[in-house]
């Protein structure tokens, strides 16, 4: 029936969208976004946390329009295709904690799964170590899922539950466009980096347009970087993985065209060469994303189609970014090794305690 067949649900659909996202990400880099960062969901959420004054790392403060545009693009797609379904109730507080640790792990590596792929496409070989960590983290998450891990069911809810996140994102988008100062510049929000990655950005209009397109397409295809790897490990299903592969290959080709491909381990933009931390950070991120049901991009898209639990996860990521920078947990900062170990223990306990015998077969 037509419900099960639409172009976006096909293999061709997910591959086309992977190609589109890869091309748009590399193009945004060409137009000013930070190198090998393109549309990194973790980095840009972290930049937003900085712009709002939740952390004071001066080089990564910018209210990135891409993230609100992702959510609103997904919101529009969900409305148009009658898929906007307000729902919540699947262990929101646990999702908040998972969002925090997913972000903290990603910032130890310096990038979410999206950026790991973009870094690899740009020739940053440290990303290989990160991706191996990501795969190990996802594989551990899959083991938890196999023994019955579940955060429980969400339930249909009132429209307001689904509208909160799109509303917050509209506010953020307006702030990103107007960029007002609420007090003395540099001392009160909105903050804006004068140098570093936070000062590198494509124009607001282009960022919004690209964000809306990606959000729309990703909602239609359910594009998910973590889901792609998870489904291969769990059931040898290569559907989402095909989109992720298309994303990687296209970004790589576009980087070659734009002369943005610089292979090597040393001197890569916004990266470090500590193998253990690159591995461990992404392992923590991969495990956290898997237990929460999807990658950071997917969580943002879900929050746009009415999923209040995914919205809580996104707020957890925002908070995690602030905590990571305020407590020096980022990259090779002093607290990073400790928080990776603590995070793996905490998320591991969540995985073990979350075992549930679902009364699903009736």
């Amino acid at each position: 029936m037509s419900k099960t067949r639409s172009f976006f649900a096909t293999l061709a659909g997910i591959v086309v969208v992977g190609v589109a996202i890869g091309a748009l990400a590399a193009t945004l880099q060409k137009l000013g976004n930070p190198a090998n960062m393109g549309v990194c969901v973790a980095c840009f959420t972290r930049d937003i946390a900085g712009a709002l004054g939740m952390h004071r790392a001066g080089i990564v403060q910018y209210l990135r329009p891409e993230i609100p545009a992702f959510c609103l693009g997904s919101f529009l797609a969900a409305l148009i295709f009658r898929e906007f379904r307000p729902r919540t109730g699947s262990a929101p507080v646990v999702r908040f904690v998972l969002g925090m640790f997913a972000m903290i792990g990603a910032l130890v590596f310096l990038g979410c799964p999206w950026r790991a792929i973009l870094r690899l496409a740009g020739g940053d070989w440290n990303a290989i170590v990160g991706l191996v960590g990501l795969i190990v983290g996802i594989a551990i998450g899959v083991q938890f899922l196999k023994i019955g891990f579940s955060l429980g069911r969400s339930h249909p809810s009132r429209p307001v539950v689904g509208l909160v996140m799109p509303f917050v994102m509209v506010v953020l988008l307006v702030l990103a466009i107007l960029y007002p100062s609420f007090g003395e510049e540099g001392k009160s929000a909105l903050f804006r980096s004068a140098s570093g990655p936070g000062a590198m950005a494509a124009s607001v209009g282009v960022s919004i347009a690209v964000g809306l397109v990606i959000g729309f397409l990703a909602q239609r295809t359910r594009f998910c970087t973590v889901g792609g790897l998870r489904d291969v490990i769990l059931m040898r299903d290569f559907h989402l993985f095909s989109g992720v592969t298309a994303f990687l290959i296209t970004a790589f080709v576009m980087n070659l065209i734009f002369r943005q491909f610089n292979p090597g381990f040393e001197g890569q933009p916004a990266a470090h060469t500590n193998w253990l931390l690159n591995f461990g950070g992404m392992m923590l991120a991969g495990l956290s994303f898997t237990l929460a049901g999807g990658c950071p991009g997917r969580q943002v898209f879900l929050s746009g189609e009415g999923d209040g639990d995914a919205a809580v996860f996104v707020f957890g990521m925002l908070t995690g970014a602030a905590v990571a920078h305020n407590f020096l947990m980022v990259a090779t900062q002093p607290t990073a090794p400790y928080i990776v170990v603590i995070g793996l223990i905490v998320v591991g306990i969540i995985g073990l305690l979350g075992r549930e015998k679902l009364a699903s077969v009736r």
Binding site: K3, T4, F81, G152, D231, D237, G293, S360, V361, R362
Partner: protein, 76 residues
């Protein structure tokens, strides 16, 4: 009566895990799956089709009902 799976409200990939488990275990030729998002309609249909089952979906109130039929028995 066909076996019923209620996968409403579950996050990825739990509905797919339930469907795969049920299709591996069942001796029948028909399984009904209840989900509440199109994402899970596509996921569960794909998981079933990979195991050689046919999927047919109907909207049912706030949810979707997917009828899975063993492909080899469809002509029976």
């Amino acid at each position: 009566m066909a076996e019923q799976i209620d996968a409403r409200g579950l996050s990825c990939p739990q509905p797919m895990i339930l469907v795969r488990g049920a299709l591996h275990e069942t001796s029948g030729s028909e399984v009904m799956v209840l989900v509440d998002t199109m994402t899970q309609v596509h996921n569960c249909s794909r998981a079933a089709q990979k195991l050689g089952w046919q999927a047919d979906c109907q909207e049912k109130g706030d949810a979707y009902e997917i009828k899975l039929t063993k492909a080899s028995s469809s002509s029976m």
